[in-house]
Subunit: 112 residues, 2 copies
Amino acid sequence: MTSFSTLARLGLLMGCAMAQPLVVQARDPVAGQARAAALCVTCHGPLGLSQLPNAPNLAGQPAIYTVEQLKNYRSGKRQHEVMGVIAKPLTDQEIDDLAAWYASIQISVTPK
Amino acid sequence: MTSFSTLARLGLLMGCAMAQPLVVQARDPVAGQARAAALCVTCHGPLGLSQLPNAPNLAGQPAIYTVEQLKNYRSGKRQHEVMGVIAKPLTDQEIDDLAAWYASIQISVTPK
């Protein structure tokens, strides 16, 4: 038999779960793609492939990695003349969206 | 008419160009692959694909980019608990070889 307190806890959990979309940022790869088209394509290409010898490919990078690097550029922990300027004004949401966009690009590899 | 000094300069340039293979390090992707198999596969996979959420894919990264990052880890300019330890003992030649290996892996992308 289910006790009242168990039901109450269940209700509380369900309430939290239902409220979650209101408080947790959703990563939006479509918004990220739009922002990337404005900010990132010159060096990282329209699909996250490097356009310069000293710019990395971003296609398929794990979102957690990209978020961490953009935050490091934003804070100055990771230093790069251009990326420091690019990352400086980004919000956490914009960083999450950019990371979601690059993570959504699937890559396959062929060793030579 | 070509002056002696122009010929002398040309000779000097040719001499430098011919001497170059003796002093410039050759990047060896096969040696890089062997070193990567010992040092890098746990986090970056046998073909440079991330095995952890906070480790980047290295497959297909431009060699110049990878060399710069490994030297930054080695010097401490770029900080990471694990990569600092991994990069510390690497020679320039070993870094060049690792970068050549990862650059030799061709990647193709498919956006979702």
